[in-house]
């Protein structure tokens, strides 16, 4: 007899949802979370697309501690002296199932863990699982210090910096070209001030991504998400490029905050937290096996994240993966087969869901973004020069637009432009 039917490692987006599903299915489940409380070790951009939370919690989602409904999508191309910004808003963005919200993990993760606990999951906080217990090649529990706890199934939901996936499914440490470092500050401002600076109605907010000078031309970008009484501002940059470049991530954050297009947005704001976290960005091709004997991987420990430059998604994948992991583990237990073959239905469920479909769909994109320096360098400059040709008036006779634009395009190279457009379309 095992101590629990299921042990879930980690209480982030994936873990608590898996535990909630299992508890609801009447299984005995223990969640072990290394933070002193849920969310204590977690950081995100962030904005969550709530469709997958709704599938799990239905109307209860109305009570989830979400910050602001996102009504504006903004993308800026920055050079050190200019900014070109697109702003999109539409009624469709607001419809149930298509809506998204800014979040702070300190609140969200506590709420998620509460749902799991109320459904009957047991929790241990403040302890990191150090290794998996295996017997005859099957994972049958976890170890922390001197303690061993056994279970029929172990669900790893321990996030991007998992120290356990190697033992579980032989997934070695990911390469620095497949991972990005994220740095963020939460900056407090009065809610009304945020609404007016971000041109949003009360309670509504913006998701704003920045390319180009935000990372001084390195692969990556900046972000601002509006919370109720603060903004989350930060950068994401590919570790290999950052490591071998000349900038420091902390220096980049300071110059991003000082950029003329960014500084007025946060002027007078008070930094209340400084955080760091990694983002997997290698996509489908770097994913590990999702199941082993007696073990399943859900969320970012399995690299389930998509970073498209104009959109970062990981939380809705983690929620969906946690849901499927929980449901499939419950079925495997009922069928009394929790070895690898018995857990196969989880992989099938993810194959049939948007999770693996999306990850597969965008599998060429990470390489495209990483290898294409023009996106972070030449294109922001090209746009700046084109906009200057259009908008700057100094009293000298203006050349025809055609005559001022063509030389700009030639500078980057028409062939290069076409090639990038083609490659980009293919990757998307």
């Amino acid at each position: 007899m095992s101590d629990f039917q299921v042990i879930v490692v980690g209480s982030g987006c994936a873990g608590s949802v898996a535990a909630y599903e299992l508890a609801k299915a009447g299984k005995s489940v223990l969640v072990i979370e290394r933070g002193a409380s849920a969310g204590a070790k977690n950081m995100t951009g962030g904005r969550i697309y709530v469709h997958s939370l709704r599938e799990v919690f239905q109307d209860m989602v109305e009570h989830a501690p979400l910050e602001r409904r996102i009504t504006h999508e903004r993308i800026s191309m920055l050079t050190n002296d200019a900014a070109f910004t697109m702003d999109f808003s539409s009624r469709s963005m607001l419809e149930a199932g298509q809506d998204s919200y800014s979040v702070l993990r300190g609140n969200l993760d506590v709420w998620l863990a509460d749902q799991a606990e109320q459904a009957g999951a047991e929790y241990i906080y403040g302890i990191a699982v150090e290794s998996l217990v295996k017997q005859d090649g099957k994972v049958c529990g976890v170890r922390a210090g001197e303690d061993e706890i056994t279970a029929d199934v172990v669900i790893l939901a321990d996030g991007v910096n998992s120290l356990l996936t190697e033992q579980a499914v032989g997934f070695a440490r990911p390469s620095p070209s497949h991972m990005a470092v994220g740095i963020k500050q939460v900056i407090e401002l009065p809610g009304s001030e945020i609404s007016s600076r971000m041109l949003c109605a009360e309670g509504d907010g913006a998701a704003w991504l920045f390319a180009g000078d935000a990372t001084k031309g390195l692969p990556g970008g900046g972000f601002i998400y509006t919370n109720r009484d603060s903004v989350s501002l930060g950068l994401v940059a590919t570790i290999s490029a950052m490591r071998d470049g000349k900038e420091t991530i902390c220096g980049l954050l300071e110059s991003f905050k000082a950029h003329p297009a960014v500084a007025p947005l946060i002027a007078g704001g008070k930094v209340v937290e400084h955080s760091g976290h990694m983002v997997p960005e290698g996509g489908y091709r770097m994913m590990p096996e999702l199941i082993g004997n007696g073990v399943m991987l859900a969320g970012e420990c399995a690299m389930m994240c998509v970073n498209l430059g104009y959109m970062v998604r990981g939380m809705d994948y983690a929620v969906a993966a946690g849901m499927h992991a929980g449901r499939c583990a419950a079925k495997a237990i009922d069928a009394e087969n929790t070895d690898k073959a018995g857990l196969e239905s989880y992989v099938q469920a993810l194959e049939n869901s948007f999770v693996l479909k999306d990850l597969r769909q965008f599998q060429l994109f990470p390489e495209f973004m990483e290898s294409n320096h023009r996106i972070y360098n030449e294109y922001p400059e090209l746009i700046r020069d084109a906009m200057q040709a259009m908008f700057i008036v100094d009293g000298t006779p203006m050349p025809r637009l055609k005559n001022s634009m063509l030389p700009l395009l030639r500078k980057v190279g028409l062939m290069a432009l076409l090639k990038d457009a083609r490659k980009g379309m293919k990757a998307l």
């Binding site: 420091t248 220096g251 300071e254 990694m278």
Partner: protein
């Protein structure tokens, strides 16, 4: 700051930011350790990627690393896990960073 790193980190500001975070420091029990013989070029990589700027040069331009203030992101482990990071484990129970916002 070494010549190969152009973007100067204002360590006074950095320390002020880290001071805003809630930490439990596990005195005398580092969860990250470097090898004894540190290759300075590898160390400079960590100076660039660590989001808490904990990898620094002291007044003698020698590498110095203080695990107190660590955000437990794992970036140094990914960047230099094969070279100068000898040990990277999660802090002991209840120790380390405790985000309030996240």
């Amino acid at each position: 700051m070494s010549a190969s790193t152009e973007n100067y980190v204002n360590y006074v500001n950095m320390d002020a930011y880290l001071g805003l975070n809630r930490f439990e420091v596990d005195e005398g029990n580092p969860h990250i350790e470097l090898v004894d013989d540190i290759d300075i070029l590898e160390f400079e990589k960590l100076m660039r990627v660590c989001p808490a700027a904990l990898y620094r040069l002291d007044e003698n331009s020698s590498p110095s690393f203080d695990y107190a203030g660590c955000l437990e992101c794992g970036t140094c482990r990914i960047a230099c896990g094969d070279t100068i990071i000898k040990k990277w484990k999660n802090p002991e129970p209840i120790m380390g960073i405790q985000y309030r916002y996240g």
